[in-house]
């Protein structure tokens, strides 16, 4: 074999080898590309940018769609302007109040946005655009005072105190304002606001478990310690007449007390001991509603004054479901003291308070009007009434005329308003 022939064979083999290597490399790259493309597609490469609209998109649209009367999941509950019961929001609400005769201001739990709802016209307007999700509790005061409370990553309570300009029922949705404010001390436990002066009273607990009660101005200035206590589980109310009432958090079959805070920081007993004690003091008088829970029985008592004898009422409910009617609205020739309570249609049983507070049980309630002096109650809205829905009402509040009551459904924290009078 000549040298030339050998070279030709070598060259041929080399070319074939190179072609084979190139073919392998091509296939390798192709496979890798396919894999990359699949991964990129899974990550959304080249997908259209989401518009965040519709039922699962824009938070604002979602809020608007569910709080409007047209919300699909409210169905028949949204009703017409002639029905007594109106679902203002089907999404959870953190806090609310009547800020004018008929207007309700509320804070959405998912965003911290402040809305105003006008029941007579069934319209809702957003007032703020400061996003603060996961608002578990909110206080809505007059003149735009707002407190929003949440939980931080470490499980501690946070408190944001703010004030907005007076809400408008006609301002277009596109001009909501910023919710400006400041964060208060961390781990505030109980908190209440003086409805007349907008001062704040609150409790904090240190590492040893000792609790101190403080007051301050709305902006946190002029802080002053009022009392100290080895107990930390307090509920607190600041009444318009200046009284600060403290009572122990309730539990079934557990004795509790209620006290009036004295000027020297001491506690003067108001009520107790009573099993499952919970109270609703009145802003307009010294009347008190008291509920108890012992041996599976829930009872409600009325005291026309702190020194009066307690009258057992013929309805079984807790004070978390009751609200005082304004004194003017309740004024009659006999100057009755009136409250309205949501009463479970079936009497609560077992460890009702403990289970209810943990969201483990819910009831279907009817509304009753309580005459505190007479110790009587009459049903005003329940099964059989037009538009009735059995809701587990909590934290009701009544407008200044006594015509309507706003409340949350404890099962889903949705917000509702009910006309208390049957006549439209």
């Amino acid at each position: 074999m000549t040298l030339g022939r050998i070279l030709r064979w070598v060259l041929l083999i080399a070319i074939i080898a190179i072609m084979g290597a190139l073919a392998w490399w091509y296939q390798y790259l192709k496979d890798a590309q396919s894999k990359s493309a699949a991964t990129a597609a899974a990550r959304g490469l080249n997908e259209d940018v989401p518009t965040f609209s519709g039922d699962t998109g824009s938070t604002d649209q979602n809020m608007a769609s569910v709080v409007k009367q047209e919300s699909s999941d409210t169905g028949a509950m949204s009703g017409t302007v002639n029905t007594r019961l109106w679902q203002i929001s089907s999404v959870p609400v953190a806090g609310y109040a009547f800020t004018s005769q008929s207007m309700i201001t509320f804070v959405a739990r998912s965003t911290g946005y402040v809305f105003t709802a006008n029941p007579p016209t069934r319209t809702i307007v957003r007032q703020t655009n400061t996003l603060q999700p996961k608002i578990y509790s909110a206080y809505v005061g007059q003149d735009g005072y707002i407190i929003e409370r949440s939980i931080d990553a470490d499980g501690n309570a946070t408190t944001f105190v703010s004030q907005i300009t007076a809400a408008s029922t006609t301002a277009p949705k596109s001009s909501p304002s910023i919710l400006a404010g400041k964060m208060f001390d961390p781990n505030i436990g109980a908190l209440a606001v003086n409805p007349a002066t907008h001062e704040i009273v609150y409790t904090t607990t240190d590492a040893s478990g000792a609790t101190s009660g403080y007051t301050s101005q709305w902006d946190g200035s002029a802080g002053k310690r009022l009392f100290t206590s080895p107990m930390s589980g307090w509920n607190i109310a600041w009444l318009s007449d200046g009284r600060i009432i403290l009572w122990q958090k309730p539990a079934d079959n557990t004795s509790g007390y209620a006290f009036t805070l004295q000027k020297d920081g001491s506690l003067a007993k108001l009520l107790g001991p009573q099993f499952g004690l919970n109270i609703l003091p009145s802003n307009g008088s010294s009347a008190v509603l008291v509920s108890s829970s012992v041996n599976g029985t829930v009872s409600l008592y009325a005291l026309a004054s702190t020194t009066a004898e307690a009258k057992l009422l013929p309805i079984a409910t807790v004070t978390d479901k009751c609200a005082w009617a304004p004194a003017d609205a309740a004024a009659t020739t006999s100057r009755a003291i009136v409250a309205f309570c949501a009463v479970p249609s079936s009497a609560p049983k077992g460890n009702y308070i403990n289970d209810w507070y943990r969201g483990a049980v819910h009831t279907q309630d009817e509304w009753w009007k309580v005459d505190v002096k007479a110790g009587t109650a009459e049903k005003v809205f329940g099964a059989g009434d037009d538009g009735y829905v059995g809701l587990d009402a909590i934290d009701p509040t009544i407008d200044s005329t006594g015509a309507s009551v706003a409340f949350r459904n404890a099962e889903d924290d949705s917000l509702w308003v009910l006309k208390l009078n049957a006549t439209p």
Binding site: I151, N354, G359, D413
Partner: protein
Amino acid sequence: MDSIRSIFGRLPPVRVIWAEYNGRMIPRIATIAAATVLVFSAMPAAAQTFTLNMRNVENSVMLNVTPQHPGPNQKVHIEAASSFVDLTNLTISWYVNGKKIGGGVGSTSVDVMTGTLGSETDIRAVASGIETQASASVALVPAQMDLLWESDSFTPPYYRGRALPSPGTAIRLQVLTHFTKAKGVSMPDSDVTFTWKRNGQIIGDVSGKGKSVAVIGTSMAPHNDIISVIAISSDGSRSGEVSTVIPEVDPALMLYEDHPLFGIRFDNALTDDSSVSENEMSFAVVPYFAPIKSVTDPNLQYEWSVNNIPVSSDARQGNEITISADKSKGDAALSVALTHLTNMFVGVSGSWRVMLSSGLPMKDVFKQTTE
């Protein structure tokens, strides 16, 4: 007889009263002084009479008050008793604040109402007979004591109820005495001695002067404890007692949805048979009344399983887990066991069945996603 007299010669003087009983004269001791002496005779009819002088006859009557520590405006039962005077045969007169309110032969008890808090009501009983005069008095100063308690067990922020004690937690108690001195001045706790009891047994290490606040531990197993406290002022003029029943419970694990916008849905606990309209959801377990400070305690160990398959939870938020049914309809049996590396009292578990729905066939294993 001489020996008996010699005995009496060394003893404090005693006066013997002879009384007729069934036609016979028998001796009765009028009072007791430093020593008790019983004088008897085998033949009382023929016995000689010893004239012995007894001291403190007039103080031989005691008044028993029930309840022992009355409150204000409370009915009190007062019983006169004596070990050495037969009160049933004596005329007893009762006086309240110096004013006679009743009495009669053998009238050994009376019911009296106490006054308002801090007021003093003087009760006096005078027993008189042919040769006996005795009296006793007591001052009723109603006391009001309030006993507050709570536990340091875990409850989430904004929980409306009381923190209940469970094994491994502590119970904090405070007694408010409302004792007043002259002119209505409040008596400080530093002037009062407190004796704390659990089920009748004195708790020595939390009792003492000024100890109006007590912190006690719980037992190994949940049950009800009766806690009582007796308070007595330094001068003995004021006293009171109050008790309460404290129920100890087991920690309760509650499962909630942890919504990305709404947060943990404490308003609606998931039950053993819950349905949700989502095919992916985050869950949070909350251990109510557990002996912990925070659910994010690094020493807490959450052992999750889904359909009996162990799954890992978020390293930062161990009490939470996210489950996706991956476009299928899923019945998820969730369970979690909670323990603590250093606290043996933390040991609780829970299980729930949650139906996640999206309309597609069910899968056996769920793809779990964590943040």
